[in-house]
Every structure is written in structure tokens, then in C-alpha cells.
């Protein structure tokens, strides 16, 4: 049994090389918190040490108990009986251990009993949980709704509910989706009715596909402005589970069996308004979703990491034609590419986390000192970078997770199709990651704006154009320059064609090119540190170049075949 932090050199590398000093210092109010809280660090060194200690604890629990329980949890699944949902017995044990170790309120401020950690560290914990049991991530990750409560709810609500999360007494859910409101949340119909006399809100309606819908505390998106039709009539509410929350069924799913997916009916459920009316979708859900998207990115990486390790182990052990199959080019081609994609995905997610952390601390500072120009400008800048990178990371890492688990099954061949080997489960668990919290196609829509409006190019300029790469990396930097030039040409073509459908159709190509390029730069930067990272960067950039040729070609040629002739092709 392993410790999932100690055995993961790449995760340690990222903790060491993600520049969080500014974030930590601001998050810790210049290390003044230890006067009030005996577990608060007194300086940067102690803070960093506390992260490592927490990661080790999480690594131990996930690497031993959670990983050992995963197969049984998948087999047992969740139970549903007369409206009551029960987790698999392994899940219960996992939750008890993780929440009992103070890992329930990782990013929540200490005044509510949390650890006050940066998102970068909590994301690492999420990644390890996912590697051990992807379905558990949904339950642990949903503790994140505490963060939304912290950000937007009134002080009295924070004081009441946040300690429940940090003590690990409750689980959470975000209740958004309805039968007719999936990707299009503007269509939400669940009603929130205000009793003018008592000032109390009550919810009526049906929600579907709700992860952990049986939670004790949930955030619900509902229509508070009766008669309205779009997103501006929706508000966010907090509910406590009671008899008016009827779980109608749980879904029988392809993967993540340990996580109950519920259909819920609200029959006049008492609800508390979060923040302001009408901002439910346009402000709070976006924030909630962005947190969840980062968590699902980490889930993708965690599953991929588990699958890669299984495939590597199998390829070393399995002998065919008198040799372990790892020695065959067709096999090590898959394995090396899996490894490179995982490290690439990690480069992207922890870079994203850094900007999310910067955004959070500067937004908070800006709220306290609204006349400080530097804080305001930084908050704005980091918000737009985080808004760009979060969907990029979600799209890349969840698609990557599917590719890696697919190849992991392929390396196992027939064995991998059997339930006895973990890759079978992992490939099923990965499949949801690029669907929920916004499909990849929706992530592309969320990201394309930032690429076309110059935020992306500005980020590259600032972060990478002034780096002095050693001579042996100059060739690779040149390759990245070529990719960048092809991408920019495509962006120009999109502007020239000036057609919404054309832009929309090729958004995926643009987003994929931009993602490869950004990861390429980050990996090249890591290449300065050691030989392993250099070779990872080399293989990634070589493949990214070929991929860019493929992706840019139809844009440059302004191909519109599918756009213009889809009826003929589809025979509809």
C-alpha cells in the first residue's frame, strides 16, 4: 500500500515549483493568524510544511484505505430504499477517515474552523482522492460548496453552516440540473416562492442528475422571479435536507458507482437566499461551477494517473513473444504518451490553480480596500486569466483522462476488458468527467473568448517571453514559436471570415491548439530543472506541432463542408 503523495514525484515537483509565496502571505494576513489559532503557520516555511503534512495525511488515507475500498465500492454502489440513500460501506469508512482528519474544509477560513489552504493544495488532495476512488471525489469535492457559502452568503449563515463542513458533520450538493435544463441552465423551472408575511422562501420543483442530492446541506438554483424566462430570474438558495426534500430515485450509472446521482422533488422546502436575488446563475453558479470544474479536472488527472500506473505495471509484467510487452514500440508509444499527457495536464491544472488563488486573494483584498488601484487591477487581471484557464484545464484534463484510460485498457488487451483489473473501472469512471460540470463543448465556448480577445496572448507574453531558456532548449522554443504563429494566423482567419458559425465550428480547434501551446511552454520551463522534464517537454512539443498542423489546416483553408452540407451528409 502506497502513500499517494510520497509516491508521486510529479505532484511534489508541482508543490515545489508553483510560486505561491504571494498567495500564501496574503492568504495568511502576513502570518498574523497564529495569534488566534494555534494551528496557523507563523511564516512561509511553516505554511509550506503544513501543506506537505496535510498532503501526506491525505496521501496515506487515499493510498491505503480508499484505494483498497475502491473495487468493493464500485461493485456495491449506493443503496436506495424508500426515499433514503445510503453510501457503500467503503465510502462511509473513507468519508469518516478523510473528514475526521480535518480534510473537510480545506480552503475555508480558520474563523469557521477551516484550514485556510490555497486552492492549489486542495486540488492536489482532490487529485489523490480521485486516483484512489473517482467516485469519492464527488462527495469530498462537494465540500467545496462551503466555499461558495463563504464567498456570497451573509455572515450569520456562514457562522451557522461553515463549521458544519469544517467539522466534517455534513456533506454538500449543488442542485442545478433539471430534466429540461442541462447545459442550458437559463431554462431552470424550479420555483422559489416568497411568503411576504414571514419572509420565508419555499422551493417547489424537480431536479435531476444531482450528484449527492441526498446531502445534508445543498445549494439550489431556482426561479425567484416568477414569470421570468431567462437566467436573470434565477436565485441561489441554501436548503437543509428535511421531509419536504423527496429523493425519487437514484440513477444506475456507467461509472462512479460510489457517488449517488439523485432525482429530487422539492415540496415546499424551506430555503435561505444566498446573496442577492437574480444573481443566482449569472454570478454565483458561475463561481460554484468554476470551483467544480477545477475539481473535475483534478479528477480526470487522478483517474489517468491510476490507469497509467496500472498499464505500466502490466506492460512490465506481461510477456508475449518472449519479451515483456513494454519493449514493443506500439506499447511504449502508448505508455510514454500517457505519461507525457498526464504531466502536461498537471502543468496546466496547477498553473490554473495558481491564477485561481491569485484571483481569490486579490479579489478579497479589493473588497476590503476598494480604493487600492493595484488590488483592483490585479483582481481584474487574475479573474480573466482564471476564467480562461479553468475551462481549458477542464477540457484538456478530462479528455486526456478518457484517452489515457482508453489506452490503459488497450495495453491490458482482453484482460483490461475484465472486471478483475482496475482499468476496467477506471475507464468507466473517466467517461463522465468530460460531460458533467459542463461538457467539453461548453468548456470550449467558455474559453474561446479569452483566446480571441487577446487575454491568452498577453498571458504568454508576460509569463514566457522573457524566460532565458538554456541553449539546448532553443530548438523546442522555436517549435513553440511556430505553433504560436499558426494559432495566431487561425485567429486572424476567424476574424476575417467574421461568421458566427465558422467561429463556433472551429472553436475546438483553436482551443486545442492554444491548450497545447500553453502546456508546451510550461513544460519547457520545467525542462530547465531536470532531464526527465526535458524529455517530457520534447515529446509533448513534437506531438503538439503535428497536432497544430492538423488542427490549423481546415481553418486556414476555410473549409465549410460540414457547415454547408450537413443535411446531405446526415440525410436529414
Amino acid at each position: 500500500m502506497a502513500n499517494f503523495f510520497d509516491d508521486n514525484k510529479d505532484l511534489q515537483f508541482h508543490l515545489e515549483h508553483t510560486d505561491l509565496d504571494d498567495v500564501i502571505t496574503k492568504l495568511e494576513n502576513n502570518f498574523t493568524e497564529n495569534k488566534t489559532y494555534d494551528y496557523a503557520p507563523r511564516n512561509l516555511k511553516e505554511a509550506r510544511r503544513s501543506y506537505i503534512e496535510a498532503l501526506r495525511v491525505a496521501g496515506e488515507i487515499t493510498g491505503t484505505t480508499v484505494a483498497a475500498n475502491a473495487e468493493a465500492v464500485d461493485e456495491e454502489g449506493c443503496h436506495f430504499d424508500h426515499g433514503k440513500v445510503e453510501y457503500a460501506s467503503g465510502t462511509k469508512q473513507n468519508m469518516k477517515l478523510l473528514l475526521g482528519a480535518d480534510l473537510g474544509g480545506i480552503t475555508i477560513p480558520r474563523q469557521y474552523g477551516g484550514l485556510n489552504f490555497p486552492t492549489t493544495v486542495s486540488t492536489m488532495i482532490i487529485e489523490m482522492v480521485s486516483r484512489a476512488d473517482a467516485s469519492l471525489m464527488n462527495l469530498i469535492g462537494l465540500q467545496d460548496i462551503g466555499e461558495t457559502i463563504n464567498e456570497f452568503a451573509e455572515e450569520s449563515m456562514k457562522a451557522k453552516y461553515l463549521p458544519m463542513f469544517t467539522k466534517g458533520e455534513v456533506t454538500g450538493a449543488m442542485i442545478l440540473t433539471e430534466p429540461d435544463a442541462g447545459s442550458d441552465l437559463q431554462a431552470v423551472q424550479t420555483k422559489a416562492i416568497l411568503d411576504e408575511k414571514t419572509g420565508e422562501w419555499k422551493l417547489y420543483g424537480v431536479k435531476r442528475f444531482i450528484t449527492n442530492g441526498c446531502a445534508d446541506i445543498s445549494l439550489v438554483l431556482a426561479r425567484s422571479e416568477l414569470g421570468s424566462k431567462d437566467g436573470r430570474g434565477l436565485s441561489m438558495f441554501l436548503i437543509e435536507k428535511d421531509d419536504t426534500v423527496q429523493i425519487r430515485r437514484i440513477e444506475n450509472k456507467h461509472g462512479i458507482h460510489g457517488s449517488p446521482t439523485c432525482e429530487i422533488q422539492f415540496n415546499g422546502t424551506k430555503a435561505l437566499l444566498i446573496g442577492k436575488r437574480k444573481l443566482g446563475l449569472i454570478r454565483y453558479v458561475i463561481s460554484l461551477m468554476n470551483g467544480a470544474r477545477l475539481a473535475v479536472s483534478a479528477q480526470g488527472i487522478g483517474i489517468a494517473e491510476a490507469a497509467y500506473r496500472e498499464a505500466l505495471k502490466y506492460a512490465k509484467e506481461r510477456v508475449q513473444f518472449g519479451s515483456p510487452i513494454i519493449n514493443f514500440p506500439a506499447v511504449y508509444d502508448m505508455l510514454t504518451w500517457m505519461k507525457v499527457q498526464i504531466e502536461g495536464g498537471r502543468a496546466l491544472i496547477y498553473e490554473t490553480c495558481k491564477y485561481v488563488d491569485l484571483k481569490k486573494v486579490y479579489t478579497a483584498l479589493n473588497e476590503h480596500e476598494s480604493d487600492n488601484k493595484e488590488y483592483r487591477e490585479r483582481a481584474k487581471k487574475y479573474s480573466s486569466i482564471a476564467a480562461l484557464l479553468t475551462p481549458l484545464s477542464k477540457a484538456y484534463n478530462t479528455e486526456m483522462s478518457n484517452r489515457v484510460t482508453y489506452d490503459a485498457v488497450q495495453i491490458h488487451a482482453g484482460t483490461g476488458f475484465m472486471k478483475e483489473f482496475p482499468v476496467e473501472r477506471l475507464s468507466r469512471d473517466a467517461r463522465i468527467t468530460n460531460i458533467y460540470e459542463g461538457t467539453t463543448q461548453l468548456q470550449v465556448i467558455a474559453a474561446i473568448g479569452g483566446i480571441l480577445n487577446g487575454t491568452y496572448e498577453e498571458l504568454l507574453k508576460e509569463d514566457y517571453d522573457n524566460i532565458k531558456f538554456p541553449t539546448e532548449l532553443h530548438n523546442l522554443r522555436e517549435t513553440l514559436t511556430s505553433i504560436r504563429s499558426m494559432l495566431n494566423k487561425c485567429i486572424n482567419v476567424i476574424a476575417e471570415v467574421n461568421d458566427k458559425d465558422f467561429m463556433s465550428y472551429y472553436s475546438r480547434n483553436i482551443v486545442d491548439m492554444a491548450t497545447d501551446l500553453l502546456i508546451g511552454y510550461r513544460l519547457l520551463q520545467f525542462g530547465i530543472h531536470n532531464e526527465h522534464k526535458r524529455e517530457i517537454a520534447k515529446l509533448f512539443i513534437e506531438k503538439a506541432f503535428a497536432n497544430t498542423l492538423k488542427l490549423s489546416e481546415p481553418v486556414m483553408k476555410r473549409n465549410k463542408t460540414a457547415m454547408e452540407n450537413r443535411d446531405i451528409i446526415l440525410e436529414v
Partner: protein, 240 residues
């Protein structure tokens, strides 16, 4: 309510290599990872459950080389209130009689008013299961072995279950009492990270008292003196 838990750091006999035994036939502790004796961890968990339920104060005592302070830290992280390390070169090679004498003396010196003493059923290095019962004899208190569960503690009366050859016995008896706890009937909790930060960054919380055969030393509660203490102990101690 005062609970004393007796714990031991043991070589990880679950993962044994070729160099696990020395030429003289004794365990080569240097070659094996040192771990919290599994049954003791279950005993600690049972004690901590009583702390959760009744607000008991939990004191953990171990005898061993300086390195054994690791399991005391582990105990603090999990929720123990107080920990004591008993360490002296003269303790090396103690058999169960000597060990139980030393532990009994420490209990008398450091936890005068205990209600319950708990220990794991046995340690995975020696497998004797004798130390707990011998301490009860020396303290002249009742003992229950193979305990699996404590149902209640009320008015100096404890109701508990123990394994027997035929099944489970439910017993009621008066405290003070010594219990040896059977492994596998509870899930030991994980260390709590908040307590870890508290105790690793603030050594002042650890009041380490070292019993030597001729003297008792009290150290100032700060990092430097703890380092000094560790240095002295390591230089004096013969591991074996």
C-alpha cells in the same frame, strides 16, 4: 475520567526483508520500518472514542528508544491529551517482567488517578500478550483481556464486550481497571491535520519527561531543549 493508553513502537513485521534478523537471533530493528503496534492503535482508538463520548482525558505512555517519540506524536495528532516517553539505555532488552515494572512505575508517577488503563492485546514483535496483565497484577486492579467494545461507563462501572472461545462475553465491572484490546473491531482514526500543525510547529505542547534509572530530567518546553534531549538520548542509547 482518566484513561492511560500503553503503546509500543514495533518493527513492521508485515514487511520483512532478508536482513530482518541479527546474527544473535534478535530482531534487527534498524532494518525494519518502525510502526505503531496495530493492536495498540485500536486501543488508542477505543480510548479516543471514550474521550469523544465522555470527555475522558487520554494519556499515552510508551517505553522505547528515543525514536519511539514518533508514535507519541502520532497519538497527539489523533487526539491524545498527554504523552510520556520512558527511555533509558538500561531499559534495553527488558523482558515482560521488567517492562511491566517500568510501565507500572510510570503510571504511578504520572497518572495517579487513572480510571482505565488500555493496551493492545499484544505487540507484533514479541506476541507475548503478557505486559498488560502483569501491570494489572502489579497495580492490584482487575483486568479484562480481548476487549472488543465498551458499551458504557457509568458511576465507576464499565460495561464491555470481550472475545471468548465460544463467542462474545458481556461483562460489567468496577473501575479502575486494565483492559487489553483486540485489534480489528474499530477503525483507528487518521491523524488530524490541525493537531499536526499545532504540535509540529509548537513543540511546547509536548512535555517530555524522561525516566532514567538514577535521575529524572525536566526539559524546558522549546524546540532547542527537545533537540538537545533527543541528542543526549540518541548518543546514550543502545538500540536492541
Amino acid at each position: 475520567m482518566e484513561i492511560v493508553v500503553l503503546v509500543k513502537q514495533v518493527p513492521d513485521t508485515a514487511n520483512v526483508g532478508a536482513d530482518a534478523m541479527k546474527e544473535d537471533g534478535t530482531v534487527n530493528r534498524a532494518a525494519l520500518k518502525a510502526v505503531f503496534n496495530p493492536d495498540d492503535l485500536h486501543a488508542l482508538e477505543l480510548a479516543l472514542e471514550m474521550k469523544d463520548k465522555y470527555g475522558a482525558k487520554v494519556t499515552v505512555i510508551t517505553m522505547g528508544p528515543p525514536k519511539a517519540v514518533e508514535i507519541l506524536r502520532e497519538s497527539l495528532y489523533r487526539g491524545a491529551d498527554n504523552v510520556f516517553l520512558l527511555s533509558d539505555p538500561k531499559f534495553a532488552g527488558s523482558d515482560t517482567l521488567a517492562t511491566s515494572l517500568i510501565l507500572k512505575s510510570a503510571i504511578e508517577a504520572k497518572a495517579k488517578k487513572f480510571d482505565i488503563i488500555m493496551a493492545g492485546r499484544q505487540a507484533i514483535d514479541g506476541d507475548t500478550a503478557q505486559v498488560g496483565p502483569q501491570i494489572a497484577e502489579k497495580l492490584n486492579i482487575p483486568q479484562v483481556t480481548f476487549v472488543t467494545e465498551i458499551e458504557s461507563i457509568k458511576n465507576n462501572t464499565i460495561k464491555l464486550s470481550r472475545l471468548s472461545d465460544e463467542g462474545t462475553e458481556v461483562i460489567e465491572c468496577k473501575t479502575p481497571i486494565l483492559l487489553t484490546v483486540e485489534g480489528g473491531f474499530n477503525t483507528p482514526r487518521s491523524p488530524r491535520v490541525k493537531r499536526m500543525f499545532k504540535y509540529t510547529t509548537r513543540v511546547k505542547e509536548i512535555h517530555s519527561v524522561i525516566f532514567k534509572s538514577i535521575e529524572t530530567k525536566n526539559y524546558e518546553p522549546n524546540q532547542n531543549s527537545v533537540n538537545q534531549m533527543m541528542k543526549e538520548l540518541i548518543s546514550e542509547h543502545i538500540i536492541g
